[in-house]
Symmetry: C2
Subunit: 309 residues, 2 copies
Amino acid sequence: MENTFLKHISRSTPHHRLVPLGIGDDAAILGHTDNLDTVVTTDMLCDGVHFLSDEVTPELIGRKALAVNLSDIAAMTATPVAAFVSLALPRDLEHDYVYRLMNGIRELADEFDVAIAGGDTNSWDGKLAINVCLSGIVARRNAKLRSTAEPGDWILVTGELGGSILGRHLTFRPRVDEALKLAVAADINACMDISDGLLLDLSRMMEASNTGAVLDYDQIPISPAARQRAIETGLPPIEHALSDGEDFELLFTLPAMEARTLLANPPFTDVRLSHIGKIIGEASGLFRRVPDGNLLNVQPKGFEHEWHP
Amino acid sequence: MENTFLKHISRSTPHHRLVPLGIGDDAAILGHTDNLDTVVTTDMLCDGVHFLSDEVTPELIGRKALAVNLSDIAAMTATPVAAFVSLALPRDLEHDYVYRLMNGIRELADEFDVAIAGGDTNSWDGKLAINVCLSGIVARRNAKLRSTAEPGDWILVTGELGGSILGRHLTFRPRVDEALKLAVAADINACMDISDGLLLDLSRMMEASNTGAVLDYDQIPISPAARQRAIETGLPPIEHALSDGEDFELLFTLPAMEARTLLANPPFTDVRLSHIGKIIGEASGLFRRVPDGNLLNVQPKGFEHEWHP
C-alpha cells in the first residue's frame, strides 16, 4: 500500500546504509554488504498506555515511538538502519499535529542516522496509535541475546534506574552508541534493554539463560527521579530503581575478568556503568545478598505490558 | 520489549530461512546467505476501516493483516521471510478472540513458510488495530520497483478485478508464488500490487516511472464480484474493476516481446494473466483507447488510504 505522507519525510533522511531505498514502492529494499545479520524489532505505542496525548507534545510522542525501538536494537548491540512507521490517526486530528509527531520521529532518526524507509498512514474513529518497526545490522552471529548469560558472569547496567515516569520515559537517549562501544571493548555474553523494570527483565534473562542471579542492592544505581518518585509514593528509592518500567538502559553480563577490565577502562565516561551482581548456575531465579552474607529470594515486580484478560 | 503472547505462536512456525530465530530477544535476527537484499513492508489494519470487527471473524481479520503485507512482498517479486505482529487490543477483548486472530495470522504464515518472529502486544481503552511488518529476501538488485516501467512495455495484471468488498478482500490469496514464477519466466520492468484500485495504482506507477499508460478497457478482467457489485450500485461493472480497492493482484510491465512469450507460455494456469494496455513515453497520465482509435484521458478514482484532514 501507499504512504504519501511519509515520502516527504523519508527523502530528507540519510540512507547511506540502504542501497537502494525503495521509497514509494511496496516494500523498502535493504541492501547490505556480506557477513551481516539483519535484526528487526517492533513496538507499538498506544494513547493512554505509553503516552497521554493530552499531556505530552506530539514531538515527544513521535520521539518515544522510535526511541523504544532504538533501545531494542541497541540491546542486540546492532546498528539501526531503517524505520517503518505506521500511524492510526484519530479522524479529527489536525494536520499540524501529525507533522509535529513525524518531526519528533525524524529528528531522532537523523540523530542516529536511521532512514524512515516506509510506513502506513490510516485515519479512523479511534485513538492515536503508532507502530514503529526498526531494522538494524550486526556482524554475522554477533547479535547479543538474553539467553546466553553464563554462571560466573558479572551483571552490569548502564545509567541510573527508576522514576522514568517523571519524564525520562519520553526523553531518554537510546544506548545505541554505548552498546556498540561495549561490544567492541568487551566480550559480552548476554544483553537486553530494561524496559519493564530491572527485576522483571533480569528474571526474563535468567529464565532464557537457565541461570540465576545474585544482586547487590547497594550497587544498583538509583536515579534522582527514583528518589523524587519515592517521596511521592512513600516507597524506598531502591524499589523504584528495581521495579519501575521504561528505564531503557542496557542490562548485560560478561565474564568477571572481562568486566574488571571494562570497568577499569570504560569505553565512555558520560554514561555510568555499574556492576550490580553476578550470574549463578546452581539455582534459577533472583536473589539478593543481605548483610549477613545469606541470599534472599527476590520476586520481580515490574510493569507487565502483556495482555491479561 | 517483551511479547510472551507471541512466543507460543512463534515456536510452532517454520523458520528455516532464519538463522537463528531470536524469539524472546529484543529483536529478531535474520541471517541469510550472501547476494540477497532484504525487503521490508508494513501495513496497519484498523477496526472500522479495513475490517468491521462485529461482522468478520477474528481469523479472517488476522489473515488479512498478514495477507496485505504478503501482497506487498509479492509485488517486489521477493520471498517472504519473517512477520512482526503488533496488536492494540481493546481491554475487554476475550482471550479466545485473540488466539483466533493469531491463528488466522499463523495459518497463512504457515502456508507461505513465514516465521512470526516478533511483535508487541498492548491492551488499551481503544479499538482493535493490528500492525504487521513483513520482511522478505530477493536476489541482489532483483527486487521489482514501480518506477522502472519503460515506454513500449505491455501492461499485465493477474487475476480479475473489482468487487473485493463482497468478500475477496478478506480471503484473497497473495500472489507470492505467481510473482516469483513471473520473475523467472520473463524480464519484468516494473511491478506493484493493486491495493487502491487499478487506475489509482497504475497512475502512481506512471508518476514514479515518468511515463504514461494507454489502457484497453475491453481487456480488463472484470471479476464476477464486480458484476455483482454493479447490480447493487447501478454503475457499469468496468467501473468497479477499474476503481475498487483491495484487489491485491499484481500489476506489472515488461517489453512487448517478453510479454508475448509470457502470454503464450504462462508459468501458471490457475490464475489469469491479462494484457490490458501499454506504456507510452510521450505523455504522462492515463488514457484509454476508444473505438475510433483516439485516446481519452482517464482520471483515477481509487480508494485513498491516506489521511486528509
